[in-house]
């Protein structure tokens, strides 16, 4: 049986690709016919909202009224997934707030699913964030994301050091976002549409866009790689109640298999 899920995408550093990962997640859920809504905490201008305006609200996650707007409606909004793209520096305060309002206790009871996508930066400081964040997440799905989209090199990571942090959190799962050609990345940014819409060669209003076939091919190939990793970590399983999670088959649809309507939605 499906249960609503809250997914936090964050990092305490800026510029590590939180919004990019959020966008891939929204495309992924759309491809799996899982309804999602999103909250963009880049208040007031919003970043995620540019790409997914129909399902995204810009909120100030530090304000109580906006916290109510997000968390009081998780079970009643009709969306199976509530995704929150957390602004740089707000991940730890948001987790503290969730603990204080009793949200994390709710997830322990299994009524709600809770997952955190922690986008790692290239510096060693990012590893300290893991320790800081993980203490809130004993009952949550914790995904550590290595984002290579902009050819990030995790240059000052010693494999042994990384593993020592990684192993402290037995339920943490590593997710890899591969590199995407800079030009393809830039064109999708400029077009301000979801990746799947870019691949389908549509504008935000659903009209034929005339994007480069080559760039669309690169984006499709890249997004299929991202989706394959989400399938590998059985992301959709978070929606299933703990007792039924082991029984259901996994979905493996690729971007190329999406119907045009779905792909451009």
């Amino acid at each position: 049986m499906a249960r609503p899920a809250v997914i936090l995408v964050g990092a305490d550093k800026g510029g590590v690709g939180k919004t990019t990962v959020s966008r891939t997640l929204l495309d992924y859920f759309a491809s799996r016919k899982i309804t999602a809504r999103a909250f963009d905490t880049e208040c007031p201008k919003g970043t995620l909202k540019r790409f997914h305006p129909g399902i995204t609200d810009v909120v100030d996650v530090t304000s109580v009224s906006d916290q109510m707007k997000i968390f009081d409606t998780v079970e009643t909004s009709g969306a199976q997934v509530t995704l929150i793209d957390i602004r740089a520096g707000l991940m730890t305060p948001t987790l503290e707030a969730l603990r204080n309002i009793g949200f994390i206790d709710m997830t322990k009871r299994g009524d709600l699913a809770f997952a955190v996508f922690h986008i790692l930066g290239p510096s060693i400081a990012s590893l300290d964030e893991i320790a800081e964040t993980s203490k809130f997440l004993l009952d949550a799905r914790y995904f550590l994301v290595k984002n290579f989209i902009n050819n990030t090199t995790f240059f000052d990571w010693d494999e042994g050091t990384y593993n020592s942090y990684f192993n402290k959190i037995p339920h943490a799962v590593e997710v890899v976002v591969p590199k995407l050609s800079e030009m393809a990345c830039e064109k999708v940014e400029l077009s301000a549409v979801p990746f799947a819409t870019f691949i389908a060669d549509k504008t935000a209003s659903g009209q034929p866009a005339g994007y480069s076939f080559t760039l669309r091919g690169y984006v499709r190939h890249w997004l299929n790689g991202v989706f394959a990793d989400y399938d590998r970590v059985r992301l959709t399983d978070i929606l299933e109640s703990p007792d039924s999670a082991a029984k259901s088959p996994r979905s493996n649809a690729k971007v190329a298999e999406l119907s045009p309507q779905r792909a451009s939605s």
């Binding site: 050609s181 800079e182 030009m183 480069s212 076939f213 080559t214 760039l215 091919g217 190939h221």
Partner: protein, 265 residues
Amino acid sequence: MTAFAIDRRDVPAAPSPEPGRSVPAPLYIVCSPNRQVGKTMLARLLAEHYVADGRPVAAFDLSDETPGLADFLTRHVTIPGIQDTRGQVRFFDGLIETANIPKIIDLSHREFANFFTIVDKIGLFEEAQRRAIEPLILFLIDPSPVAAKAYGLLRRRFAGISLLPVRNLTVAKGLPYCASFPHASRLVVSLEIAMLGPAARAFVEREKFSLLNLAKQASPYSDMSARTRAELDAWFRRARFQFRELELSLIREQILTALHSDLCA
């Protein structure tokens, strides 16, 4: 001196499609992972075959060696760059934008892996077929294990795309190719480049040498003997017969496919 004009009676006329149906324009990819196997020679023969008919053709020199295709057919050849994304966009988008012109790519052995990796990533062949462009991989066979391995990889990776072994008798005479280079196309055509004697070969390898010009007697090759001219003329005609067979085979396949769809409808 004997005149050796190309007589239309010697070579079958250019194939015409069934009224109301358009012939898929071929996209020839002349390739091998090895050098000195006759790739540029085959690309030249193909290009001159179209020019001899007065039909449009676009040729692309990805040979990165001199003399390349562009050194022989300056008017019809473009030298694209596919090292960066910008060049790839220009080249690959251009390939599929003009659907009705036959195109020939002379692919360097050095670009072999990179080219097919990009083609695979961006889904060039699938998109080409959607736009009535028929990709035909013309693979120059030779006795090296590298060639057999590369052929096998292409065959597996691009199943459904015509992969035709081409035997250049200068390098692959007597090479049994059924086992290492099995025919992988619905097109029932066998391509072979005949051997040339040393004198004729020396002319063919001269920069800017054109079989077409020779046939039209517009060539300044006053040092060419009548015997060499006869040899070259017969050689070109033989190659053109095979290209005609290939084009006819394409049309036949298209008709059969259309009939099959009509019957199934």
